[in-house]
């Protein structure tokens, strides 16, 4: 093979490999999102369509809203525990690490972790989800608390 063809072959195959890797990553990402994503209700009652429940010790991703008044911080460390809820029963999440700035009571969050009890999650990552609405403080205040609650419910994926 002459060098020019070799170069061309190398380029074309590297592009193909790149696209293959990309497709693999997408499938991986989506499968993780679809199969391992649970809401607190689904952890207790099983997925609506398949009835699948996560097993103890399984790594899962949970999305829900932080229950107001449930956040307990350890005074000496970064340890924190809080309850997560969507429409039904709630679960408890334990986490040792820095929380994102948007983490607050009533906020929609997504967490990764291992299920250690029937309704207890040992989280390794806590991510805050926010909505597509932006507004200055004054307007948010004048809209009142009802609006804020509605917005946060939407952010939690309701």
């Amino acid at each position: 093979m002459n060098p020019r063809r070799k170069k061309r072959l190398a380029i074309v195959s590297s592009i193909l490999i790149g696209l293959g890797a990309v497709a693999g990553l997408v499938l991986y990402a989506l499968s993780q999102n679809i199969d391992l994503y649970y809401t607190p209700t689904e952890i207790v009652q099983g997925k609506k369509d398949t009835g699948m429940k996560p097993a103890l010790g399984q790594r899962i991703r949970v999305g829900g809203m932080v229950v107001a008044g449930s956040v307990k911080r350890d005074a000496n460390s970064l340890k924190v525990s809080f309850d997560l809820v969507d429409i039904g029963p709630k679960i408890t999440v334990q986490y040792d690490g820095l929380l994102p700035d948007l983490f607050r009571e009533g906020q929609g969050i997504v967490t990764n972790g291992v299920l250690v009890g029937a309704t207890l999650l040992e989280a390794s990552e806590v991510l805050a989800k926010h909505d597509e609405n932006y507004m200055p403080k004054e307007i948010a205040e004048s809209l009142g608390k009802d609006y804020k609650k509605k917005v946060e419910k939407k952010a939690a994926g309701e």
Binding site: R4, K7, R8, I11, V12, I15, G18, L19, V22, L25, V26, Y28, A29, L30, Q32, N33, I34, Y37, G63, L98, L99, P100, D101, L102, F103, V110, E125, V126, L127, A128, K129, H130, D131, E132, N133, Y134, M135, P136, K137, E138, I139, A140, E141, A155, G157
Partner: protein, 267 residues
């Protein structure tokens, strides 16, 4: 129907037309970007939840919208080059790819810098972020294909096919936040109906979007002209142009040489 367009299929005519347009586009972009960015950084109010980190919005969102827009334009150019064999369309597609790649990179990097403080992570394999990363890879693939062949027609064909295949990614990016459970929130401005933000925040965004659009148009003009020159290097008008350009530079060749090496040192 398209007869009035025919003169622009002449490389010399479109080269000169873009040359006339280019300085005005640069001026307009400087004007709108100055207004938009000063407004965004100094006068736009902070978000009620995100505070001042919200100001990243004014770079992130225009860059993301325009990265997709450039891709769409590039795909249309690729289509007309493949179907109607317009060589100029090829040149414009080759001109757009690097610009689109840079704006996609900006959208990804600013997104990461925004995600870290707000979400709590630089990166997550969420459908929106992953499909945006694929957009960057598509751009890089198109650039690589344009450079992979000495025969510019063949290169244009290969790159054109890839860009057309990649169009499928555009609706995926846009609807990813609706189709999948993503950490990334839904669309604020690129949707039907009123934007989900107050007017005091929306106006500076519009200024920035306009500024970046003009900047991209100016850059496309500049790169398109370069591509036209490289593809028509044997034409008499290009040769006259090149000879004149060299003569202009010759008297101060020492100076320009010094500058050049300085630039390389800085890099």
């Amino acid at each position: 129907m398209f007869k009035w367009l025919h003169p622009y299929a002449n490389p010399e005519v479109s080269y000169n037309f873009c040359g006339k347009l280019q300085p005005w586009l640069f001026r307009l972009s400087a004007l709108f970007l100055t207004i938009g960015l000063v407004w965004a950084l100094l006068y736009a109010p902070a978000d009620y939840q995100q505070g001042d980190s919200f100001r990243i919005f004014y770079i992130h969102v225009p860059a993301a919208i325009l990265a997709m827009g450039i891709y769409f334009a590039m795909a249309i150019a690729a289509l007309s080059s493949l179907v109607w064999q317009l060589k100029l369309a090829d040149a414009s597609a080759a001109a757009m790819a690097p610009i689109g790649a840079v704006f996609t990179a900006i959208a990804l990097i600013t997104g990461a810098a925004w995600g870290k403080p707000m979400w709590g992570t630089w990166w997550i394999w969420d459908a929106r972020l992953t499909s945006e990363l694929i957009l960057l890879f598509l751009y890089l693939g198109v650039i690589a294909l344009h450079n992979a062949f000495e025969d510019k027609n063949l290169a244009g064909k290969a790159a054109g096919i890839l860009s057309l295949v990649g169009v499928i990614n555009l609706p995926i990016i846009h609807y990813s936040v609706e189709w999948w459970n993503t950490l990334h929130q839904g669309a604020t401005v690129s949707k039907l109906g009123a934007p989900s933000m107050s007017a005091v925040m929306y106006w500076p965004f519009l200024m920035c979007l306009l500024g970046f659009s003009f900047l991209i148009a100016a850059l496309v003009c500049l790169r398109f002209r370069t591509e036209v020159l490289a593809r028509n290097s044997m034409r008499p008008w290009v040769r006259t142009l090149a000879a004149n350009a060299l003569e202009l530079e010759q008297p101060m060749s020492c100076n320009s040489h010094g500058k050049h090496s300085q630039n390389q040192g800085a890099k």
